[in-house]
Every structure is written in structure tokens, then in C-alpha cells.
Symmetry: D2
Subunit: 449 residues, 4 copies
């Protein structure tokens, strides 16, 4: 059976992920993501009403025109998890394919939200939930099967899809960290990866998340971030003024830790901002996270402002608002707090906790610097970088190669510079560029079998 891989998006950047695997006549698409930075560099662009081709020209969504070179039928569109760089283009591209979107339950909920916001296109694709550990037959040959393996990432319910073919398994490895104590959900299923590496024809091809491929060592467990965060918040136990925290709103495990530790130090946590409300609300409704009954979540500007007013009236020392703005985005809530534009007033000595890293780009660094300056001008004390990455570092890559022993590897989720650490590592393990180590770019077809 012919196996071909189309590397459509996310092979020259972090963002707009999209890869298609053809096994005989059956095609499965992994991820359809959005590169948000390509949108934000323009002033005042709203993507909801934009046409796909314009977004492709901007480099914001994958250029899927190469799909016409793949002979076969798309049988499934499989986003691996609910981050925008993996699901953000579904509303713009999925309607072109007569295939269901198959994903884990939490991811499906987030895809639904994306489709609801879309104003230009109507997607009629079925939305099919499949859990980690489950499999699904692909096409009519009876020989191709899709399996979800549980992985750990900075969002819950992330999986790595595996396409089992007669020539071996194609493992799509985006995005993950190798976490044995992930705070929420099950540890990464390394046992299953090792089995896949050894059963049947083994692994034909492994597509790897190279986000951190230039970083040495091992990515820390979410549990380490949790202990770090606990240490920080507990150290503030005696403080009788305001404490504000921010983190990725999609990072349910982190939000849960914040909520828990707020309670531990005698404060009422409250989640503020539209995305905070959406992600955490969804996670709670679906049973992924249990939050205290009295946890407030407020998304609309009016209810947020009312909440701030109530906090100011009842006493800042009793609350811990968790807000948006961890990248210093100029219009985010935390930056507005720095500008004194919200009812919540910062006083000298108040604490601001950034449970997030800076996404490494000078624009973000500049904005975050400004946000911290503004907060500092209000008297706030800054606690930053209480965070661990959601992506494997080099020793994780090493362990994955050891577990899967793939015949071919394809670095993904970076540009060439980002791939370079992975190329060095894979070369040391005996892979060779141009033979079984495929450094590629957006819009290429790789014939594996």
C-alpha cells in the first residue's frame, strides 16, 4: 500500500499546523490550525468574516491547495487538541472536505465554539468524539485504522493519533510533553507507544513536535509547575492586600491549581474574562475538572466590572482574580489594570502572578515589558515565569525515538532553525537526512512507501 505524507502547514513556523497522510486511497488530515501572529501584525483585522484565500495569502492558515495532488479521499479530519494553532482553521477549511472531524471530547467542544463564531463559511462536517485508547476503522479497505493514544500537554484531553496501515504505523506526535504526573488526567501512555513500536510492522513514520528541539534536558512535569505555584502563593499567605494571577485560559490544570491554592490561603478565586469563562466552564461541565461550587466565572465586560467593584467593596484581601493578559496584550484585562482602566485598583505591594512564560518573540517581549512597567507604576510586585512548557525537550525526543523506533522521522511544529536540534539528535541516533530523516517545508509531499 502506498503511504504518502503531505506536510501542509506548520513546517516553517509554530502555528497553522496541518498534515495529511494517505494510506492507499484513504486520507486522514491531522490538525487545521491558525497562526495568530500573522493576523495580529496587521491592525484591526477580524478573521471571522475573512475568506480562506486571503488568510492563506497572509500565512495565517495552511495552504491546503496541495491536497489536490493527493489521490484519494479524505476520511477524517483529526485535530489533536484544542489549541488554536491546531483547530483554528477548521472553520475556514473543513467545509471543503466531505469528512467528519474526529477528536477527543474536549477538543470537539472547542471546535464547536470555533464553528459557532465563524461568519463566512458553513461547515457541515460531522463532529465525532473518540477517547484516548479507542480506535476507528478508516475507509473500506479494512486495513487502515485510527487510534488515539493519550498524551500530556498544556491543555486537557490531548491525544496523539496513530494511523495503523499494513506498512506500519504512522504516528502523529504533535503536541505533547512527557508527563507522568500531569495534575489533571492520565499520564502519557508510554506503554502503548512502546507496544506500537514493537507490534506488527512497527512504526513506519513518526512526525515529531519540535517546538523545544533546541532545548537540552527534559521538560518538567505540570506537577513541578504546580509545586512552584504553590510555593509562590503560600508565601503570600500573610499578605493582606490584592493578589491577581494570570495564565493561559485553556490551561485547565493550571487554572485548577490557582483556584485550589487561592482557597488554601484563604481567598476566594474568581475567573475573569471571556476565554477564562469558556475554557474552564466547558471543562467543568464535561467533568474534566471539579471546581468549588462558589467559584465565579465571568466573561462579559459588564459582569467583570461588577465583580471588580464587589471585590473593591468587600476587600481585595479576600479574593484572587484570575485574569487574561499573560502576554501583556495591550487590550487584555491585566494590561488595562496596569493602566488603571478597571475598577480593581492596585496598591503598593499588591502581587501579580504570571503563571505563564513569554511566547518568545520580540513583539510579545515588548508588550509584556510594557505591561509589567505599567503594573509596577501602580505599585504591583511581579512574580513571573511560574510555568513549564507543554512541549518535549531533547530528552523527550530521545525517549520517543527509543520507544517507537520509527523507520522514518519528520520534524514538525517549527521552522528550520527550530528543527536543527532535532536533526542533530536524530542524526546521532543513526538517522540520515535525505534517507529516513525528512526535513521538509510547507507544501511538500513525501512518498514513504
Amino acid at each position: 500500500m502506498e503511504i504518502e505524507i503531505a506536510t501542509i502547514g506548520g513546517y516553517e513556523e509554530v502555528g497553522r499546523q496541518m498534515t495529511a497522510v494517505r494510506a492507499g486511497n484513504d486520507i486522514v488530515i491531522f490538525d487545521m490550525g491558525l497562526n495568530l501572529s500573522k493576523v495580529l501584525i496587521h491592525d484591526n483585522i477580524r478573521t471571522e468574516g475573512m475568506h480562506s484565500l486571503d488568510l492563506i495569502d497572509m500565512g495565517a492558515i495552511p495552504d491546503d491547495r496541495i491536497m489536490s495532488d493527493l489521490e484519494g479521499d479524505v476520511k477524517a479530519i483529526v485535530p489533536t487538541h484544542g489549541h488554536l494553532d491546531h483547530i483554528g482553521a477548521i472553520s475556514k477549511l473543513a467545509h471543503r472536505y466531505d469528512a467528519p472531524v474526529v477528536a477527543s471530547p474536549f477538543t470537539i467542544e472547542l471546535v464547536k465554539g470555533e464553528l459557532a463564531d465563524e461568519q463566512k463559511f458553513d461547515s457541515g462536517n460531522d463532529l465525532v468524539k473518540m477517547d484516548a485508547g479507542e480506535t476507528m476503522s478508516i475507509g473500506d479497505s479494512g486495513k487502515v485504522e485510527l487510534e488515539f493514544v493519550n498524551v500530556t500537554h498544556s491543555i486537557i484531553d490531548a491525544i496523539n493519533p496513530v494511523l495503523h496501515t499494513p506498512e506500519g504505523a504512522v504516528v502523529y506526535g504533535l503536541d505533547k510533553r512527557m508527563d507522568h504526573t500531569p495534575v489533571i488526567g492520565d499520564p502519557i501512555d508510554m506503554k502503548r507507544f512502546r507496544e506500537i513500536g514493537r507490534e506488527g510492522e512497527g512504526v513506519l513514520c513518526y512526525i515529531e513536535d519540535c517546538t523545544n528541539a533546541n532545548k537540552k534536558g527534559r521538560t518538567q512535569s505540570e506537577n513541578v509547575a504546580r509545586e512552584h505555584l504553590r510555593d509562590v502563593l503560600y508565601s503570600m499567605e500573610d499578605y493582606d492586600g490584592g493578589i491577581v494571577a494570570t495564565t493561559f485560559s485553556s490551561h485547565i490544570a493550571r487554572v485548577k491549581s490557582l483556584v485550589e491554592f487561592a482557597k488554601d490561603i484563604g481567598r476566594q478565586p474568581v475567573l475573569l474574562g471571556r476565554s477564562m469563562e469558556q475554557y474552564s466552564g466547558t471543562a467543568e461541565r464535561m467533568g474534566f475538572a471539579e471546581f468549588p461550587d462558589d467559584l465565579g466565572m465571568f466573561g462579559h465586560r459588564n459582569s467583570v466590572d461588577r465583580t471588580f467593584e464587589r471585590i473593591m467593596n468587600e476587600g481585595k484581601e479576600d479574593y484572587l482574580p484570575v485574569v487574561t493578559g499573560h502576554q501583556g496584550e495591550p487590550r487584555a484585562m491585566l494590561t488595562r489594570m496596569g493602566r488603571g482602566e478597571t475598577p480593581y485598583e492596585l496598591d503598593d505591594g499588591d502581587k501579580v502572578v504570571f503563571s505563564a512564560g513569554i511566547i518568545p518573540e520580540p513583539t510579545n517581549e515588548g508588550q509584556r515589558y510594557q505591561a509589567e512597567k505599567l503594573l509596577g507604576m501602580q505599585g504591583a510586585r511581579i512574580y513571573s515565569d511560574i510555568h513549564v512548557s507543554g512541549h518535549l525537550r531533547q530528552e523527550g525526543h530521545y525517549e520517543m525515538l527509543d520507544a517507537l523506533q520509527p523507520k522514518h522521522v519528520i520534524p514538525a511544529h517549527q521552522n528550520m532553525k527550530g528543527f536543527s536540534g532535532y536533526v542533530d539528535l536524530a542524526s546521532n541516533q543513526g538517522y540520515k537526512l535525505g534517507r529516513d530523516l525528512h526535513v521538509t517545508c510547507n507544501g511538500n509531499l513525501i512518498q514513504i512507501v
Copy 2:
């Protein structure tokens, strides 16, 4: 009562700490340290037989000649903890003063070791043990008292000495991290610091450890490093080859975690190297740390080599040697392993765990780079920076100022560049250079009252 402070050493560098406080006619000296880097830049120098004046000229030990300008008698020499930059000059300078060395029990043991190695001078000074929480009268006035407050650092049994005078307390704040979960020993005694800040005349002067004064946020607890280390070692549980770890040999809490986690993953830990044996052996004998009965500690070259041979014979997969060499020192054990000069042979995939940061200096960075290169050439996988600093960052400084509310502050344990972050912070809190914020250098006298 006149209060005068002599800033003798460690005010232009990290290293060779020494400060004297005169209260009336009674003088107490805090720390007498060695700046090792000033020794190592010369080839083949051994300090044991060297004269004080030569070491002073090299900048290796404090230039205590300014002591003759202080009118009064030295009543005690008080090292705060057992690191060389705080006790390393006692063997060279203490004999000039007719005063006992007063320190915590573990520190006294390490001072004894220093004095035993000394070849040039004979120190007749009494060695007096005093525990954190205890006090001692200084001089005959009945008005001056020395108190030890328990603090947390990267070595056990560290204290901050407080000299109570009729004019208020002089708090000598070197070296510490604000750790509420220090793995070994009690948390930092913030309650006592807050009391001292409020009782009697309050705090007249605070001398602060500025090692990390240019770093934002809060230094993590040893417990976070422990969870990080646990995560790393547990992730290796299934590996059936060699695992080697290195850390600061004086860092008993870290050594203990290494020993514990080695057991947890089914390996026999063994401590190798002269300093490993000394520090851990002393800590165990004194009851600071409980180690497993079968834990081997070997210091002499012959017994180390025999241990390596036994490990190679019985199977690397059953052992976890903890060795010296975390800075890539050219002659340390780990570097020699990289050069293939020990009986322990590294194989492809073997793990080397650096539970230590690189002390930031280009020389160290170059050596560590070389050591990692050599280890990598043997096939080793490197896990580095599993560590937290032993020194306060800015938010710790902020909290100390808040707790002590000192009338005067003196930044120490850095050079001018290192002080700069502290000066900014203290200025923001209302202190003013030249009035109550004293940026000074080695060899100055500051008249406080």
C-alpha cells in the same frame, strides 16, 4: 552607644565575605570567607601553605587591615554557614583576634575541618556552638546580645546573626533564601524577623545578601527543586543502563533527595569523592540527615576506583553514583568520566544528571561546556539545571524589608552591578542613597550611630 560597621570583604565580589560591627567597645565579626576564583585563575596554587598577606594581595581573602581603625575589642567571630566564601579565611585570619568562633553546630564542624587542613597558621580560637533561636551576651556592658535566627540556604544549619544593641538590632542577612519547605531543617523563621522588626528600637541596620538582586520574582523552595529532581529520576525508572548524578557536595538536602529517589527507582546510591564523603558523613554523624544504612560514601581515589569497578562488574543498572564535577572542573570526577579516565564506562544512552546550576562566569561556562561535550562523546544524555538558587531574589528582598523595616540598609555579597537591582528596589521603598541606603565597597567604615 556608637554603632559602626566595617565592610571588609564581599562588597565588590561574591566571595571573601567579612563584616565587622562595633557596638560601643564590643566588636563582632561576621564571616571570614575565601574567594576561590581568585585562587583558581592562577595555575597550581595551593592555599594551605600560603601567608595571609599574599592571599590578601591576590584578592582571595578579606583585607582585614582596616580592623585597626575600629576602636574596641573583637568578642566573637561569627560565620553564618559553612560555605567557603564564609568560612574559608578563618584559618588565615582568625588567629589575629583573641575571640571565639561562634557558629551553628554544623558550621563549627566544617570550620574544624578548615583549621585541620591549614599548614601555615595555628588558630587558638575557641570554637563555640550555638543553635538557631539561642542568644549570647557580647562584652561586659550587658547591653549587647547576639542572637541566631534560623534561615534557609543551600547548606544546612544556616543562621542569620542579629546583634541587639541599645540603638536597635543589626541584622546580618547573609546568605539565605526564603524557604518555607526546605526539605531538611526548619523553615526560615520569618515570625522572629517580624518580631525583631517591631520590638524595642526595631532594626537599626540590615545587611542584605544581594547575590540575586537583579533577578525578578521569588527564589523557589528547595521543595520545588526536589519535585523537579523526582520528576527527572522517576522518568528514568525503566532505563537499564548507567545513571550518574552530580551536585554541590555541601548541599545535604539535595544529596538526600538524590539518595532517596535512587532507592525509589530501584538503584543503590553511592556518594563518591572526598568532599561528598566529608559533608554528607558529617551531616549524618551529627544527625542532620538520615541516610540508608547501606549507603556507601567513598572519598579516597583508591576506594572510588574500586567502587566503580564493582559497579561495572555487578551492573551499572543497579547503581546511581553521586559524584563531584558539577561545574565541569577539569580534574573533577565527572569530567574524568567524560575523558574515559575512570573504571566507570559510559554507554550510549546513559544519563548524567546535573543537579546544579552553572555559577555564572565565562570560565565555568567554558569548562562545563567541555565536560558536557566529553560526556556526550561517550554517548551520555545530559539533564542539567535541576536546581534552585540558595539566595533571595527581589521579592524576597521586598519581604525582608517589609518584615524588618530597618532604619539603614547595606547591600552586600555582590559587586556594584549586582547591588543595582537592590538599590532600585530599596529606593522604591523610600530609602535614599547616601542617607539610609549605603552602597559601599571593601574597606569602608560606616558610622550608623
Copy 3:
């Protein structure tokens, strides 16, 4: 005679310089500057109509309230050169003092411009021109004299004022580079500095420009930047598309080199932007720089746009526009070119030459990054950092100490971190903190005699 120095502004930042020297009853103020970054961090603030006290509270202009502690009369306000951080607060503060503004001719012209823009205050101060090499008597004692020594900086007609007193000279050393081949104007007058160091009582006090005090080596001459720029522009001689350059509009020597090299490679230079027109026009009218007769300078938006249209019609290959926007300021002309908002259209391969460094602050770095991204999206090729600093590095400081041999030194024009390199250097030369090396902050008085 009592000599006292008030360090009013620019001792905790680069910006809002102001220092007063009292010699007996006569006071001279050196510089009254604006810290622009403290203005820009707020959205939409215009300083022209603001009150001094509000600007002081923002940290934008010097807090001169300490002047009331100086007993004596202000006899002159002496800005050293025309940069905003040295003259930008004159319009807000000078009217409080009954004293003339004394400066070099070009500086006086720029001060006039500042006063003309001011909307809140009316300054009645006389504006007195004095050339480098000239002197003026200060006060009625007959014993105090003001001298201007020619120095070299990134703006023309910069001087270092020297206040000769019976106790020795007070040399105010802001801002300069030690340039023997400055392209426009005379080399730095090191001969005179050496004389001042040796004549009469020598130098009592030297206030040094520490902007680059943490940088090793020697600041390059403007002539090196010129050769670098020549090399870059000549390498484009055969290019037949658009070339655009940007630099500091106040940097007349650089503008002149750009104009000259544009001609050399067969292009018509044209200066665009309000500040470009102002600085270069003034310099030309005053005879500091000779520009070609046909050099266009356009400041108003309309005439700029018309010029761009003419260039597009006649052919980009015949022109070299020199525009504003070297820091990537969001609303500057070059950034707008990147956004496609001007009539000048960039094509693939067009060259953009940044003859300026990035002023080191994350905000600038983020903006510049964005500007370059936008220009790159239009196809532009970027040539950056064709520049040398206008400030001494360490070897310049070393030479100044050697020339002047001052009894006292005061580092200025930086914060504590910036001073640190100078403190190290001066300490190595025998100065001592707290004795003759005065590390100070805004709002201090230093009694020298």
C-alpha cells in the same frame, strides 16, 4: 569657597538630565532634560500643554524642588547640546529661574524651537550663545568662570562646560564620545582637558557620562560609521530599485554622509519628515553643514506625500529618501511605509538602511522587530546597525580620568546598574566609594568643599 553639587535628574535613568553646581553664592545649572519614555508609556499624552508638577510626578522632567536647599542665585542655565534629554525640560522649568540660558549656537537654536512649541509656560530667560573655547564670568565675585570645551557627540556643536572656581575646576562631562575624526566639526579638545587637569588647582570634580560604562573598549569614531555606511551604500550602486534610509534626524553628520553617498551612487537624496527638515535645515542655515543646492527637505505630511508621489512617477531608482522611524515607532514614516500607508511602494529587493542602533529597551526592540517584519512583508531587504554610539566606553572614561586627574568623580547619565562599570573602573584607578567616588541618585546634595 564652598562648592556643592545638586544631582537633580538623570542619576537614576538615561533622560531628564539636570545638575546644579554652587560655587559660593553663584549657581550654574547644567542641562534640563526630558525623559521621553516616561511620556510614551502613557497613551496619547501631549506634553506641550502639561504642567511641570505633573511631568515631575511622571518622572518625565527633573524634580528641581531640591534647588530651594541650595543657598545662592542661579546665574546660568547651561545645556550641553541639543538632545531632548538635555534641553527638553527648559520650556517647563527655566522660567522659575532668573537666569539666561547659555549654550552653543546650534543648541540655542534648538532651545528656541522648544520654547516656541510650549503652550503652558512663558519663559523670559535670555538666550545667550557662546562658542566652544570661549569663557564667561559667573556672578560678581570675579572668581568663578564658565568655559566651554569642544566635545564630539552624535549631534553637532556639543560642548562640555567647565566651571572654574578658586577650589579647582568642576567639569561637567555629559554627553560625549572621544572622536578625533568626527566628520563634521572639530575633534574633541583633549589638549584643553589635559591643560585643565594640570593648571591651577586642577580638577576638583568631574561628572561623567556613564551611558556606556558597562561596555569594554573604545567607542568608534563617526568616521568609522561613515566608512561602514559608505561600504553599504556603494554596495547598492548597481541596484535599480528603491533604497530608503533612516537615522536620527538630529544626527547631522550622519545625514550629511547619507546625502553625500546617495549622490555618489547616482541618486537624489531627499529628507522627509518634520524633525528631519528642522534639524538639517537649521544646521544648513547656520553653516554647520553644506548640503547640495537641490537637496529637498520636506516636513509637512502633504509635501512628504507629494514627494513620494513624484518619486514613484519619476522612478524610485533615482532617489534615496531619508526618513524618520529608526526605532520602529508605530506612527513614524518608515513603519507606515511597511504598512503600505504612504505613496512610496516597496518592491521585492528594495533596500532599507537603518543607520541607527536600537535604543536598548524591550519596547523599542518589539517595535523595531514589528517594523522590520512589516517592511519585509513588502519585500524589503534590511540593513541595520550602521551606527556608532555617541557616548564614551570604558577606555574613553579611562582616558578622561588620565587627562583630568579629578579629585572627585560623580558618575551620571545612567542608573545604578549603568554606573557599575564606571565604579569598577574608577575604583581600579584608586578612587573610593564614599570618599571621592560619589555614587548618587536624583535629588541629592554633595558637599565637595
Copy 4:
């Protein structure tokens, strides 16, 4: 005619360059270099007596065993210039091929030196001199021709070889900077490159020097370094103590500038060290550089020491020794001066000029740091980084693509991370990975036609 390219060495590192091009049955080898850092990481290895296979295993010289997969006969071995990473393996590998070494005259002289030092192998290869601008027929087909195009690099007499085939030209682009004012020798022959790009079949393949491919902008001309150096040395004209300079001994243009400016400021230059004597002596004998008649060059330790003694006797202020040690090599002359191990004694204020950058690797950075520390301890003032790179940056790459318009490009002289900037640039220009942009590694064959 089949055209095949073997990328043998220098495609995973900077060092051990070797590339073979097969045109039909005729093979030409470009470069045979040594990776010195792979030798130096081992203690006390001398390569002169070592076998090729051991050096291959160490990664020190190219693994040329892939040559057996190329069907055809080697007709020429063509080093592009005389740096060790291009000629350093000739003595170890050339004897395996029955072909002459063809190179520019200066390069041939340096190859002779290499062969003379070799102790293990006897190379019987003819040494053939060919000048830039000349051509030579390759093989008997009458269809393949070798041309040398003059380029500019940090060593004189550098060329880029071009293999003209019926399928188009193969241009081997290592190593060069695009220099129109190279101080010694002719400017880069861009006119000829542009012709080659347009004549006949154009350029089939271009192999590019990617050393600086991650650096923006344009590499400065040697003339800019010269003006920088002039500025530094002229600024020392009045100094009456010792001045010492160091640079790459193979960098004749720089040495010549040093010699010239030494004379200009009234000092007698003298070249000290074995390699200084060799390179400059050879360049002078061959007429590449004219040095003053009285310029001393001394290589042997004894004559160097005698020269230092004479300088100390006659007065340091009259001399300017140019010595080895620009990377802080522990045993180099300058480092020994820092340790006080030479008869030349440094005094406070003496100047040390590093007209060289630090080759970016932590080992070098550590050694250079130590060397500067040691020199500083003797009182020396350090002037560093008076240098420009010998390698193209991105705008040079852009111009080369524009001039040659090659059908295929192969990045070389770096590792994957180093290639990444070039891949981005070439992709922007329309090349595509896997189609006409060949990112490869050591030991690959690329079939172009």
C-alpha cells in the same frame, strides 16, 4: 552529462570542508579541511603523526569513504584558500587520489607547509598554481573546465572555483565576504559572477558559505575594520607605555594595517610567533604584501624572548609587538604575557588590542575571558573586537543568488542550525526544500542531473 555532488565534510559543522563534484567521469574535489576543535578537546594530541582513520573517527577530517560510491576519476583537488579548515586534511587524504592539488599561488605555498609538517603520509600529488581569472581543462572530454573567480576573504588569494559543464556551471562558493575595498588584493569579481549566471546554461548549482547565514545585513568591508583599527591605534598616539596587538596570523591585510598604523604613531612594529612569521613572511616573499624593510618577524621561542628583552631595554614606548593569542589559547604568547611568563612586562595602562573576534564557542569564550582577566591583573587596558568577519551575511547571500540565479543551491560550511537562515532566505526567493534547495549532511550524494 550526469552531474553529482558528494557533500563529504563541513555540512554538519564549520570545519573539515570537503565536497566532490562529478561531471560525467571527471571528479573534482573542493577543499580537504581539518576541524581543529575536535582535536583540541582531547588533551595533548598531535595530529602530525596520526592516521587518517583515527582522525576521521574523531570527526577531525572528512570521512572520504563515500568517494568510492562516485564512479569516475578524481582529476583535481582544489582548495579555495589557505585556512586549515580547507587545507588541513590534504596531508592526510590527498595521497589516496592520483590527482594534482590545484590552487592559487599563496594557497599552494601554505599547502606545501602542511605537507612538510606531515609525519605519517607521503603525498606525491603535484602542486599546480592557478591564478584567479584563469581556467584549466578537466579530463579528456573537452567539455569540462575549471575556472577560478577572485573573491575576498580574511586571507589573501582566495578564489571560488567554478566547474563549467555542458549542463551549466557548478559554483563552489566557500569562503568569502563581498568586499569591494579589501585593503590587499582585488575586490570580489561580482562582474564575472554575474556573467557566469547569464552565459551558456547559466548556473546549475551553487554551494554557499553559510557561516553567517543567521546574521542580518551585510558583512562589512575589510576597509571598515581598517578604519576602526586606525581609529583605535591613532587614539593611543600620545601614550608612552606598552601597546601590544594580536590578530589572526593568516590575516595578512590586517597584519599589514597593524604594521602601517604602528609606524604612523611612531612605533616599530614587530611580528612575533611561529605562525606570524610564516604567513607574513610567505606573503612578503611572494609579493602580496609590502612590509617595511626593518620589520622584524620572529618565530622561534628564543628569538621572540630576545626581542622582548630588547624591547624592555630600549623602551616599550617605541614598539608595537603583534603576537599570537587572540582566542585566549592557554599556551599562546599573549596569555603567557598575562601570566607574566615572558620578558615583556605589562604596566598599568598598557594597551592590548584584539583585532579579532571570539570564535563563538563556550570554550573559546572561557579562555578568552581568562586571558583578559590575567592581562587585566597586570594592569592592561583591553580593546577587543576590532574586526569584521570573512563570511557573507544574509544580504551577501541575497546578492549572490541575484547574480548567479542558480537552478540548485546547497548550503554548506555550517550545521543545520547555521543553515536555517539560508533556508529561510532561499525559500523567500522561490527555492523549495527537496526540489532545488538541498539541505544535506556529511556523506550524502546529490544527483543534480
